[in-house]
Amino acid sequence: MGKTTFVGAVSEINPLRTEAVMTSASAGIDDLTHTGDKTTTTVAMDFGRITLDQDLILYLFGTPGQDRFWFMWDDLVRGAIGAVVLVDTRRLADCFPAVDYFENSGLPFVIALNGFDGHQPYTPDEVREALQIGPDTPILTTDARHRADAKSALITLVEHALMARLR
């Protein structure tokens, strides 16, 4: 929820879309983007780019959060700095697979509560309790539409990743 908005808020280019093709093993349980062919499903992935320095470009990739998209995450976590798990506070449970995945993969992640229309029904502490997230993982509130919020979430993530490396 709000991935493309989040990427677009900080990207220097309009978010681009690329497609990955799902394999038959995972296509069977996908009913949203089913193409009619029993063996293939195409999944869109949006991404943006931030040039941080003359020789330093940061790429942001937004992928769906359901666990049937793990095959894309496996690809993205290699060499990645970390992940922002963007949570729609109306549907907290939707982020369980992503949280499980990143906890198991060891990739640093932060949880960003993206309130619908800027409204935040829960505090980070309440969400931490509900999701059983350890005290080390940052949880912040964000409005994915605002550049400052998205930038702040990225800074929190990189700080967290740096702390994890130095620990």
């Binding site: 497609e19 293939t40 992935m45 320095d53 690809d75 740096l162 490396r165």
Partner: protein, 214 residues
Amino acid sequence: MATPTGGHPYNGDQRVPGEHGDNRFGFPAASGGQGPGQYQPYQQQEHQQQGAPGGPGSEWPQQQPGAGWPQQPQQRHDTSQQPRIQPVQQRRAPEPAKPAAHNPLVRPYAMTGGRTRPRYQLAIEALVSTTADPARLQGQLPEHQRICRLCIEIKSVAEVSALLSIPLGVARILVADLAEAGLVAIHQPGGDEAAGGQPDVTLLERVLSGLRKL
């Protein structure tokens, strides 16, 4: 299943007229009604070379539904020429080609000769820059030419896929082909080998500093 079956076997000895010597990856016969070596997509290649690139794939003839193409046989390659590119680490499940109905112009994996895995595992954010002299692009596959023209200004593999409307898996294969032929340079993202390829502390600090300055 990686590719549909039923097409004519690919004949590795067939060459497209005018094809560059470095480019060994010709198209297999696209429709069942043609013999090996009848490279349908090439029939309009001159359009491409006359400098009028249309939309993505628009110059390509329609693929006949149900026509298959066989897997291209493994061909030799010299890994020592590309020390910056990591060899493929693991065999991934092959990605099936998209149904023709969703891409009426040409099936994506027709561009790769039916191959579904690149020779090298390119990171999605690996950067691609064209090193070839424009004169060398003559006679290359149309898709290879488009990538080379795009990457005169450095682009990531993801951008190549998005900007040319090529599925990611196909873009990886085509870019790896170009790197092998020496037409583009690949800049794979670094990483701390000791930490399983994670970015090293210096890089993280630079990213953090860069983000704060935004």
